[in-house]
Amino acid sequence: MPFDRALFDALEPGQRSEISRLPLPRKQLGWSAKTLLVILRIYVVVAIPVVIYAFIKALDH
């Protein structure tokens, strides 16, 4: 199959699977984003027992 320039150029470079698989660098977080993520961790720690409790309680139905 001959090389087809039009087909090759139809995709943006970032769309090609070889390039899109290269990882992006880690984001440098500001204090507000860091604070939000800390709050999120606390939220998750609280939410998981609620999910477990809800399931156990639902088993009684």
Binding site: M1, F3, A6, L7, F8, A10, L11, E12, P13, G14, Q15, R16, S17, E18, I19, S20, R21, P23, L24, P25, R26, K27, L29, A33, L36, L37, L40, Y43, V44, V46, A47, V50, V51, Y53, A54, F55, K57, A58, L59, H61
Partner: protein
């Protein structure tokens, strides 16, 4: 065909490092060439038709089995009133959230799970993927419950209806071409509109509907725990974490670029409009149960509603309702299983595309197949705690919506990856209000779950 595509070789590696288009690239490139030609010809309707898909599928996919049961419960408990405009509002919220995923996908060409993993690190990457996949598997169970219940209405045994559901879900994965998969699902998903003729058999009053829209009422019973639970169920039926992951991945797989964002928005708006129409129609179709004072608290599935509606809206109306429930479960099973596949493969840097052939996408297809088989198997286990799973799914979805929305907002404000498609102050305000609202509602849902008598009856 696949061999020809796999061996498509380009000249030696260039400075950009690209020398080979994979099968998924080639299929996507062909679609992009057609899009480019249609855009140059200024055939805007054709362009919209070609670029539509992810938005319609995500909105109609979220009108799933449990969601339609929630809407039916709403209609049977409150009739035509407050919840008609409220449901419309929830779809406006869904549009605001999902529109951000269109921009994220078009700007970065990466899925939501991989962006979280790469930008915020492995902890949040694995957490987001794990909670999504866990929630999705439980949700898949509820979809097969809907398929099973719909089948029972037509006299099919559980085994037969679940087996048919599994075969159709697996068949949808066999196309190995995103565009074909998308169009096949859209054709099936449009059957969500079966609830509209079902609603017409309930002979709704136009004046009553107009009054409900204009006055957000009536609201029989006022503000109670039961009312709040229905509010939460309706929000949970419209805005959920899997939708964010799915639409972004589908936008990437379809190959949308920055130039296509306007059509992506329209696709999402059209999907929201169709899904809202189907959801409101379900409320209207079930409203005769409210008028007849039928107690639906013991109803566990869509089939119970269809059976109860038969003497009120006739056999044809009830049959359409039951068919709608089956369709809702089926389309959701197809989209949700794919959402898990995308998230899992993106997180572990495996190849992820519906354009892959099976040998290139073992993990991607394997995850969808395995989750489908597990969910279907669980439904068929005698004595399995299906009701407990259904109830827990709602709690998981509502509680985990807050983290999903927060990451969505952080990513869509990340100018390094978004450029000029990053959120402006208006979208941040709308997104912030929705995130705060849904987080508070989710927290309230959690509190009510643990302390059910907190607000009285």
């Amino acid at each position: 065909m696949s061999d020809e595509i796999s061996s498509f070789e380009f000249p030696p590696a260039t400075a950009r490092g690209d020398h080979l288009l994979s099968r998924e690239d080639l299929l996507r490139a062909r679609s992009r060439l057609i899009i480019r030609r249609i855009r140059a010809d200024r055939r805007w309707l054709k362009l919209l038709w070609l670029l539509a898909g992810p938005g319609v599928l995500v909105m109609l996919g979220e009108n799933d089995g449990p969601s339609m049961v929630s809407y039916a419960t709403t209609g049977a408990s409150y009739g035509v009133g407050f919840f008609i405009p409220f449901i419309l509002l929830t779809f406006v919220m869904a549009f605001v959230v999902q529109e951000m995923t269109v921009r994220l996908g078009a700007a970065t060409h990466r899925g939501h799970a991989e962006l979280i993993f790469q930008r915020f690190g492995p902890f949040w990457g694995y957490f987001s993927m794990a909670d999504l996949v866990f929630g999705n598997v439980l949700t898949l169970v509820t979809e097969f419950i809907a398929i099973q219940a719909g089948g029972l209405y037509f006299g099919l045994s559980s085994w037969v209806s679940v087996a048919i559901g599994v075969v159709l879900v697996l068949a949808s994965l066999s196309f190995r071409r995103y565009a074909t998969w998308e169009r096949a699902l859209m054709a099936l998903a449009i059957c969500n509109l079966l609830f509209i003729p079902a609603a017409l058999f309930a002979h709704p009053s136009g004046a009553q509907l107009a009054h409900a829209m204009a006055h957000w009422g009536p609201l029989p019973g006022g503000f109670t725990t039961a009312f709040l639970t229905v509010v939460l169920a309706n929000i949970g039926a419209t805005v959920t974490p899997w939708m964010i992951f799915f639409q972004q991945s589908a936008v990437v797989d379809k190959g949308l670029t920055r130039a296509d964002v306007a059509q992506g928005r329209m696709d999402t708006a059209i999907g929201a409009l169709i899904a809202a129409a189907a959801a409101i129609a379900t409320v209207v179709a079930a409203a005769p149960l409210f008028a007849a004072h039928v107690n639906v608290s013991s109803f566990a599935s869509g089939a119970d509603f269809a059976t109860a509606l038969q003497p009120l809206i006739g056999t044809t109306g009830a049959t359409l309702f039951a068919l709608g429930i089956i369709e809702a479960g089926l389309v959701a099973a197809m989209t949700i299983s794919t959402s898990s596949s995308y998230a899992l493969a993106e997180t572990v840097s495996a190849r992820h595309s519906l354009n892959l052939d099976f040998s290139g996408g073992k993990l991607f297809y394997g995850a969808a197949i395995l989750s489908t088989l597990i969910a279907a198997g669980v439904v068929l286990i005698p004595g399995a705690p299906l009701l407990a799973m259904t109830l827990t799914v709602n709690v998981i979805a509502t509680l985990l919506m807050a983290p999903a929305l927060l990451f969505l907002l952080l990513l869509v404000n990340d100018r390094e990856i978004m450029g000029d498609l990053a959120n402006g102050w208006r979208t941040n305000l709308a997104g912030g209000v929705i995130v705060t609202g849904i987080s508070l509602v989710g927290a309230l849902y959690g509190v009510i779950t643990v302390f059910p008598n907190l607000l009285g009856q």
